[in-house]
């Protein structure tokens, strides 16, 4: 009973007479007033610091934009992934012109293949204009999978016209639209894999490192086992073993999940190594003596001290997952056209012909770079703002 008693309140203390040794009221590094800072929980402190991390904020904004665009792909993409114009195959990017009288416009082109050089030739009809505008009607799509709509953020005002902002692919489809639609898969499925790996890595590495002894030995052998299974045959084996009625998306999702079931090992090992070092620290003991349950000791008390490593690993795993799709397609597995993803688009760019004659088809790579850089900036920002010793940017 007594153990539940709250401590009696202290006698009021005279206020600090000089005010030295404490903070000035306004001059705080997070740009918040002191009282706000001092009563803020840790996550808020981290968030405030994060807000001041310039690159991280840039990364964050990019990410948010990417996800918004992915979510409303139909709206942001000027066309559907299936709409094409045969004569515009390999049409180079058309940069919109602007004039005050006409607004945004491009000149329509007609394409034909030169039988001598085999090169697609596009003749621009400068007497005509394809007017471009915001919120124009065009290909129908289903917003968020439920709402039927046909308004597009930006595109030709006449739904019948074509405009290739980033050029056309070999089937005369709009590359920009495909990149936008492709982000839906590329920015989602990979993350599932990362999340699973992370979870497994943390839990199993945590258990292994914290308990040590026999548990550790067994888990280490298991890790070794998983680690020794080369991914390549696994990919090939799995790809072939999936039920035939599965679509490429499902197959790809499953491969990702299984890969992540195998891919947690290296994180687990690092975590384990660090835990082995950390578990002797007094503060871990202190937590134990506080009656903190083991799981919480591992995850709330010990893991944060390698959050740097974890964050770095995760923000590195994300691009790996986005790209693994590409590699899988290279190996003839994973997603394949007509599915649209960045990996598939890049896979299409993977030929000398494209590099030499239609280099804009490499642009999905720029999207990948953008996403990767953004993820990693955010990761860095998180790391820096969670670091109690950290320098301020």
């Amino acid at each position: 009973m007594t153990s539940q008693t709250q401590l009696p309140p202290a006698a009021p203390k005279p206020a600090d007479p000089t005010g030295t040794g404490t903070a000035d009221n306004l001059d705080t590094e997070t740009g918040r007033s002191r009282s706000e800072v001092t009563s803020a929980p840790q996550w808020k402190l981290i968030w405030w610091r994060f807000r001041r991390h310039r690159l991280a904020m840039i990364g964050m904004v990019i990410l948010v934009m990417l996800y918004v665009v992915a979510l409303f792909a139909g709206f942001f993409a000027p066309f559907n992934t299936t709409s094409y114009s045969g004569q515009h195959a390999y049409q180079p990017p058309q940069i919109p012109h602007f004039s005050f009288s006409e607004g945004f416009y491009v000149h329509p082109t007609t394409g034909a293949t030169d039988p001598e050089t085999l090169a697609p030739v596009f003749t621009e009809d400068t007497s005509q204009m394809v007017h471009l505008g915001f919120f124009v009607e065009g290909d129908p799509y289903r917003l968020l999978g439920v709402i039927d709509a046909n308004v597009h953020f930006f595109g030709p005002e006449d739904p019948g016209e074509r405009w290739y902002a980033l050029g056309a692919d070999r089937g005369g489809g709009d590359l920009l639209s495909k990149i936008i639609y492709g982000s839906q898969i590329s920015l989602s499925i990979g993350l599932v894999g990362v999340a699973i790996s992370l979870l497994l890595g943390l839990i199993l590495g945590g258990i292994s490192g914290y308990f040590g002894g026999a548990v550790d030995t067994v888990l280490q052998r298991i890790i070794e086992l998983f680690m020794s299974i080369p991914t390549l045959p696994l990919w090939l084996g799995l790809a072939a073993a999936v039920p035939p009625q599965w679509g490429p998306m499902q197959t790809y999702l499953m491969i990702t999940v299984i890969l992540s079931l195998v891919g947690w090992t290296s994180l687990a090992r690092v975590i384990r190594g660090r835990l082995l070092q950390t578990r002797g620290e007094d503060y871990v003991l202190a937590a134990r003596l506080d009656g903190v349950p083991t799981g919480r000791i591992i995850f709330r008390h010990m893991l944060p001290s390698f959050s740097s490593h974890i964050i770095a690993t995760v923000s590195l795993a994300v691009p790996a997952m986005i790209l693994s799709e590409t590699s899988l397609s290279f190996l003839g597995l994973g997603l394949r056209a007509p599915a649209v993803s960045w990996g598939v688009l890049l896979q299409n760019a993977q030929s000398v012909n494209v590099v030499a004659t239609a280099p804009w088809l490499i642009l999905p790579g720029v999207a990948v770079v953008l996403a990767v850089v953004a993820f990693n900036f955010v990761g860095d920002g998180l790391r820096d703002s969670a670091d109690p010793y950290g320098k301020r940017s």
Partner: protein, 330 residues
């Protein structure tokens, strides 16, 4: 330490047995077998094989035997006679095929590894020390880009640039005139000329990861009190960092460094394939795709053994550099 080592080595044996079973199993996962792929390949050329002939061949190769019998034949031959079997595809002993490719594989693997580490570790450390400086940002961004560009695309673009602007012959690790020539200074030079693209492509892609983790781990250690202590002794900053925080920040690398050994062996299959490098990676890929069971199995087994050995090395290294692990209750 010796006991620890022996103990660890003993643990390796059951692991290896399980791994060999699993590898052998995975190889057989895809539908069909080597002969089916042969048929598919021939068909692509316009040839066909009589199904009756296939059945006869299956019996001959023992492809139709139950899994355990096939496994036992395979593994016992390896263990008792060091015989890895015959590659269906090449109709040559697996071991010959592997050893043929070994020197170049190791050369490429080690060269990339060294390149990666030589660039990434200092860059990671530097960007931790100069956190939030222009150099830090530059290193980060360059690293990310190298990371984000798919390797094979980078290889292709570099190869194309080599072709379009320098008229360089692409593919393989040697120019045609040197491939079968005996070793000479000129051949070494030629090798170096060809080595840079794969080393650059594979190496750079790997750097970002190491830079990021190194930077993060360094930042964790850099402001610990013991670093200040060392500084107060008058230790030069560089030596201080090398001796104290770096030593601890390297731990995560050390605990995974062993795994670069197998990755030397099968790393970057795709780039090696695109650039037609005569390394084991593409051999494995080809073997897997054509379901060349023993060849794939042999390579995978070697990789598995190397992984296990690598883990062992990592464990021992970690114990060697970190007394807390060594004296820990583990």
């Amino acid at each position: 330490m010796l006991r620890f080592t022996i103990h660890r080595i003993l643990h390796v044996i059951p692991t290896l047995i399980i791994i060999s079973v699993i590898s052998f199993f995975i190889i057989q996962l895809p539908p069909g077998d080597f002969l089916t792929t042969q048929v598919a390949a021939l068909e692509a050329q316009g040839e066909s094989i009589d199904p009756a002939q296939l059945d006869a061949l299956r019996v001959r190769y023992g492809i139709d035997d139950p899994f355990w019998i096939q496994y036992w034949k395979w593994i016992s031959n390896i263990l008792l006679h060091g015989d890895f079997g015959l590659s269906f595809q090449f109709q040559r002993p697996v071991i010959d095929l592997i050893t043929e490719r070994l020197p170049l594989t190791i050369l490429l693997g080690v060269a990339t590894l060294l390149f990666t580490w030589a660039i990434a570790l200092p860059a990671g450390i530097y960007s931790a020390i100069k956190q939030h400086s222009a150099a830090d940002y530059t290193i980060s961004v360059v690293g990310f880009i190298a990371l984000a560009v798919p390797n094979f695309l980078a290889a292709l673009v570099l190869a194309y640039i080599g072709f379009a602007y320098f008229g360089q012959s692409v593919g393989g690790l040697f120019s045609p005139e040197y491939v079968n020539a005996p070793w000479s200074l000129a051949k070494v030079g030629d090798l170096l000329e060809h080595l840079w693209i794969p080393v650059l492509v594979i190496g750079l892609a790997g750097t970002a990861g190491i830079i990021r983790t190194m930077r993060a781990n360094m930042l964790d250690e850099l402001y610990k009190p013991y670093v200040t202590t060392a500084r107060a002794k008058g230790l030069p900053e560089g030596r201080n960092i090398r001796k104290y925080p770096l030593r601890i920040a390297l731990n995560p690398f050390i605990s995974t460094v062993g795994w670069s050994i197998p990755s030397i062996f099968d790393g970057e299959v795709i780039v090696a394939t695109v650039l037609a490098l005569g390394t084991t990676g593409p051999l494995l890929l080809a073997a897997l795709k054509s379901q060349d069971m023993f060849l794939a199995g042999g390579i995978i087994l070697i990789i598995a053994v190397l992984t296990v050995v690598g883990t062992l090395i990592s464990d021992l290294l970690l114990a060697a550099v970190d007394p807390r692990v060594r004296f820990g209750k583990a």
